[in-house]
Amino acid sequence: MVETWYAILSFMLVMFVILDGFGIGAGMLQYAVGKTDAERRLVIRAIGPLWSWHEVWLVSFGGTLFVAFPSILASAFAGFYLAFFLLLWSLVLRGVSHEVSGHIDDPLWRTGWHFCFVTANILLAILIGAALGNVVRGVPLDAHGRFTLSFFTNFGVRGHVGILDWYTVSVAVFTLVTLAAHGAAALVLKTDGPVHDRSERLAKVLWNTVLVLLAVITVESEYVRPDLFPGMLRQPFAWLGVVGVLGGLIAVFTGLRSRSERRTVMGSCAFLAGLMIAGAASVFPVMLHSTLATEDSLTAYGGAATGHGLAIALIWWPIALALSISYFLFIHHHYEGKVKPAQDPQSPY
């Protein structure tokens, strides 16, 4: 039961990173690939009206964490207090700037909100990356399962750590570049003309950078969490993740070379999913690692909801998932294919 819920939560996070990662990545490249107002609007059209459905994966991840691991939610959310509010405020800024930029037909209005949109997306990528870095590195949990984090302490990765240190900053940079690469790959698929060509050139540069940074992160992670790679060897699911990473990278690079746009995007999704799955499987059952004393780490078994709440949720959760996917399909097929510049001025999408 606990394993199932751990897998469900990992799945939801993977969905969020793949789907909203496209919006975040494409959003931060808006000025890099769009030189004119019309081109920047094309990027918004490419992200499409389902962006909020993508973001709901994060919100529902929070809700599902509440169902399955309430005490871990309580420790983590309170411990990351300030970082959490930065994340929430960035989400506010991003949602608003995405929606309002199209409402008033004025170049100055749009430019202002597009700029805001780019900034919020960059901030989001950094914050998500730093959060992932914190989960891998661990937090200063005490024996009562409580911790609190400053923004930074001595930038070291042991003992009383802060949110930012050399490791979490590297993960944040890696996430920023990877989501940008993911967004660029998807923009190539979704657009035509100059935006398409610029995205294609950027995608090549970004994916080469991802490759270099991946090597750096791998070495760093081995130093920060020595139990990570042994864990990976023990867990068949982690092997699946590694296959996803390697297969994804091959698909991305061959896709970029042979200009098969769909393969690149699929490869990019497999790469992101593979990384997350490998990470989640390797650290299982530890959900929050303690940098002070390993025995104080919070595990999935210790933090799971008790009683038959989990069994009940396992009945309604798949039904809700099936419904959710059906809503997505109902809307999505109206928006398939490459986006054209706005012919219908009534609609930004």
Binding site: W53, G63, L73, Y81, V92, R110, H308
Partner: protein
């Protein structure tokens, strides 16, 4: 700072009150949009399509602000109320999880297509998307109200060995009688807000003599729905809610009414100031026996006053509770009167020739927001000093690792951010209203360009 509790409470109170200004409008408008879209499908009358398109744009802006201010609400359970989450997460986690999975996915998939995708989706699918948004937003409301109802009147739980709560009976929890009553009361209140907004824009256009056809449609829908909803929100749903309070939170009822002493023939105090120190109501204007009758069905029923309860079980802010309740009830009464006058005049065909009434309709739109906010303050202040009624004190619920200073910092951040959001929101809705509804033939008007 050891007054962290105060900042935690203020932050949650501020962010939730501000947030709920937006969903009450969207939940109210949602079914009006469904109705117009349906009328358009059935009759082909372009007026309905144009009205729907115009209000869908306002809906879109409102929905966006509702979503972005709503996400912090869900996360604050963990960030600010970690001990409460540990204590009751096994139970309220269910509904918060369901809200995301059942309601948010539905709303978020449909809303973009509803606001912007009329041509792409075609009439039938566009109607379905509109319906999806309405169902999703009301479902979301239900799950939140079940969560709140558990805090007001906990049912379906058992106490585990470690002192936290366990879900014992999902059905009892989801069909909490308190939740069912509050759902009716609250959702109809949202329709009041929506209908007043529609009527106010209709009145504005009628007074300015712009968009005459739309003005009369807005006035028609706004006043008829407004009258129905204003009546229903008071009777039977408000009445049913008050009986629940009398039954499960008698001390709250006493505080709401400023009733310090027990006795039969309990009066309703229309006006008066609670004097908590002296245990009496100053300068009251009373209707004798009315409270006994409303709460228990007989003028001679004994209604318990605050003196029957130990002082540490009294709601912690009786004055604010009392004033909030009286503001809600007073405004609710005025709503019925205003909408009844408007409906009578419209039925006589003279509403658009009665500028005084149009002015009142136009200026009335903020008051349902005030009434709903006051109503929620009654519910939440009335619950004090409990976080989960009778089980768990508010003082026990906060995140002890978060200092008061940190909360004050984020509270100030929210105040600043939400101020800017409010200005932006009013500007954009004002822009849409001044722009006015457009007929289908004028959609290529450059003023309507988006991208």
């Amino acid at each position: 700072m050891d007054d962290a509790l105060l900042w935690h409470r203020l932050q949650f109170g501020f962010t939730v009150t501000y947030h709920y200004l937006f969903p009450q409008l969207t939940m109210g408008l949602a079914w009006i949009l469904v109705y117009w879209k349906w009328r358009h499908l059935r009759t082909g009358d372009e007026r309905y399509a144009s009205a729907m398109r115009f209000w869908a744009r306002i809906f879109g802006i409102t929905f966006t602000v509702g979503v972005v201010t709503g996400i912090p609400m869900e996360f604050q359970f963990g960030t600010n109320w970690a001990n409460f989450s540990r204590y009751s997460g096994n139970i309220i986690g269910q509904t918060l999880g369901m809200e995301g999975m059942f309601a948010f996915f539905l709303e978020s998939a449909m809303v973009g297509a509803m606001v912007w995708g009329e041509k792409r989706l075609g009439p039938r699918n566009h109607f379905l998307a509109t319906l999806g948004v309405a169902v999703g937003s009301w479902l979301s409301g239900y799950f939140i109200l079940v969560t709140n109802a558990f805090m007001q009147h906990p049912v379906g739980y058992s106490l585990a060995a470690d002192g936290t709560l366990r879900l014992a009976d999902l059905q009892a929890f989801l069909l909490n009688p308190w939740a069912l009553v509050v759902f009716l009361h609250n959702q109809i209140a949202a329709v009041v807000t929506g209908s007043f907004a529609v009527a106010a824009v209709g009145a504005l256009y009628a007074l300015r003599k712009h968009h005459a056809k739309q003005a009369s449609l807005f006035l028609k829908t706004g006043t008829i729905v407004g009258l129905l909803a204003s009546v229903l929100v008071a009777f039977p749903t408000g009445d049913m809610h008050a009986r629940k309070v009398a039954q499960y939170q008698p001390v709250t009822l006493a505080a709401m009414e400023g009733r310090f002493h027990s006795g039969p023939m309990a009066e309703i105090n229309m006006i008066g100031q609670p004097n908590v120190k002296e245990h009496r109501l100053d300068n009251p204007i009373r209707i004798p026996g009315a409270l006994s009758f409303l709460a228990y069905g007989s003028f001679y029923a004994n209604v318990r006053g605050l003196d029957e309860f130990p002082e540490d079980s009294w709601p912690t802010n009786i004055e604010l509770l009392y004033y909030s309740f009286h503001i809600m009830v007073g405004l609710g009464t005025i709503f019925i009167a205003l909408m009844a006058c408007a409906c009578v005049q419209r039925w006589r065909g003279r509403l658009e020739k009665t500028p005084a009434l149009l002015w009142m309709l136009m200026l009335a739109f903020p008051f349902p927001f005030i009434a709903a906010s006051a109503g929620w303050m009654v519910a939440e202040l009335g619950r004090q000093p409990w976080l989960v009624y009778g089980l768990f004190h508010t003082t026990q619920g906060t995140s002890e690792v978060v200092s008061g200073g940190d909360v004050l910092f984020t509270l100030i951040g929210f105040v600043g951010l939400y101020f800017v959001l409010g200005v932006l929101y009013l500007f954009m809705v004002g822009y849409e209203i001044l722009h006015g509804p457009q007929s289908a033939s004028s959609t290529v008007n450059p003023g309507g360009t988006h991208g």
